[in-house]
């Protein structure tokens, strides 16, 4: 009996924290699906209607289609850089133990503590001199750089846990030494790569602090910038902001659901055991 009531209490707690987590999405849905003529102070609305005009209007005025394209290009580009360079660096840290590698690794880890804002001004002048303001490629470089230390950390932790006999077997079977990395080790990194994609991909997708500096042109705006416009320029258009946010959230939620299967496994092996 006692066992049973324990279970019920646990279930109630679990369900309520799940509901808490869903609450912001619920508010977004209600806002996005209610006509802007409805005033929330007059009437408490608890059930979303099926009114989709906000989506069309938000799409039109904020040019969010363009923003999604920009966010996609920047996020995919930066994530590819982080995965390729990060896993290579993680491999070097895990397999080649010498002072130089170790020093480079420690420098990167130490820099994680430095608030990005110290860099913003000199980075801005650097961006101007290399013609990187309002370009995709420079934003990709900047955001990939910010994500690099943590992913090298995760990759090196994960690779340390892989037995070196994997590469040995590959080489005996006729793989070149570098080929052993790209053909045999890299495919084994799926769990940690999922973790890197989720953690870094999301923070790149949601980046605001750097984008607001380096992407000023209307046509270069990413999703967070486009959404903040509803607030800062058009004066708190809640329904449209919510609709635009939901459009912008969809790719992020989708990516998360695709990769989450390996997520915990990747974090376990990449960081906790390391």
């Amino acid at each position: 009996m006692k066992q049973f009531s324990y279970k019920i209490i646990r279930l109630v707690i679990i369900v309520s924290i799940a509901l808490m987590a869903l609450f912001p999405f619920y508010v977004l849905a209600i806002l996005a699906l209610t006509p802007s003529s409805v005033n929330f102070s007059e009437k408490l609305i608890l059930l979303p209607r099926l009114y989709f005009d906000n989506f069309f209007e938000a799409w039109k005025i904020s040019n969010i289609g363009q923003a999604i394209m920009n966010s996609l290009i920047i996020t995919v580009g930066a994530v590819i850089l982080v995965v390729v360079f990060g896993s290579m660096a993680g491999y070097a840290v895990a397999r080649v133990k010498n002072k130089i590698n170790n020093a480079m690794f420690l420098i990167m880890l130490g820099c994680m503590m430095i608030p990005g804002i110290i860099n913003t001004v000199p980075l801005y002048t650097l961006m101007i001199s290399i013609g990187g303001i309002n370009t995709h490629w420079a934003m990709i470089m900047v955001l990939a750089t910010n994500a690099m230390p943590f992913s090298v950390f995760l990759y090196s932790g994960f690779i340390k846990g892989l037995p070196i006999t994997i590469e040995e077997a590959a080489i005996i079977d006729g793989c070149s030494k570098i080929g052993a990395y790209f053909r045999v080790v890299f495919p084994l990194l799926k769990p940690v790569t999922s973790a890197v994609i989720i953690i870094n991909g999301l923070s790149i997708w949601n980046n605001y602090a750097q984008s607001v500096f380096f992407l000023q042109q209307q046509s270069m705006k990413t999703i967070p910038l486009a959404i903040s416009m509803f607030f800062q320029q058009y004066g708190a258009k809640w329904h449209l902001m919510a609709a635009a946010s939901m459009i912008g959230l969809a790719p992020a939620v989708l990516t998360f659901i695709i990769f989450q299967k390996y997520f915990i496994k990747g974090i376990t092996a990449g960081s906790v055991k390391g």
């Binding site: 750089t145 590469e167 570098i178 607030f231």
Partner: protein, 293 residues
Amino acid sequence: MLLKNRIISKLHYYMIVPAFLLFTIFFIYPLLRGIGLSLTDYDGMTKANFVGLDNFIEFFNDKRALNDMKTTMLFALGSAPLLNIFGFLYALLLDRKFIGKSVIRTIIYLPAVISPLIMGYIWYFILQPQRGFVYSIIESVSSNAVEFNWLGNSTMALWVIIIVNVWQFVGMTMVIYLAGLQAIPEELHEAGKIDGATYLQSIRYITLPMMIQPIKINVITNIIGSLAVFDIIIALTDGGPGYSTESLSIYIMRKCYGSFTGYSTAVAIILFFIVLIPVIISFKYLNSKNVEM
């Protein structure tokens, strides 16, 4: 060693180079220049003059900066411990088998997918005076709803910011703790049970000591993240009322735009040391508690 030589070629030595090169160009180089700028009166336009440590001295006479430093620290002091306590409890709760476990985990992580900026706007909408969700609920039961204005009260506003931040990112700390819990061998708990340990005792004497590594990751990333808080405050209070909930990173951004570029980088360096001190302390402390597997 022989085995290693057969596998590691010269090329492997350079595999860290692309990552480090990128990092040097886009992080270390601007960082060094930033340190240089902090010693000048650069305003973003005209030529910079060397002023020595004046910017750093000015910081300690700058009331707004000192207030922002206090706000930033209070935020971190509230946010980092709450994130870790709740993340740990959530992980303990969700570590056991039950139907729908992976769905529930996904749901709890989901708020972290939303950009902090949008999260802030959502909560601003809920809490805004005269118009928000909470206001209309209070209004329907009480007559003096007009007084409801959490975001206009500096103490309450800071709490709101802390709670919204925890609400959003607790899933992230939870995932790291879950990963840690799964790495603990089952036999340890069984051995504890045989020796008569209660549930709480086995958490205290088996789980916690085995969780030093995930605790380290969480505590340190949360301290760093909390002390750099930016987007969520911009969306929720924009630093207000007055400057009372402005964080140091927002102040740095505003000063930087407001043609006090040299000064703003000096403040950023001070922020770095503010981050560094608690990180080193917790690192040292947690390392002293480390158990060897």
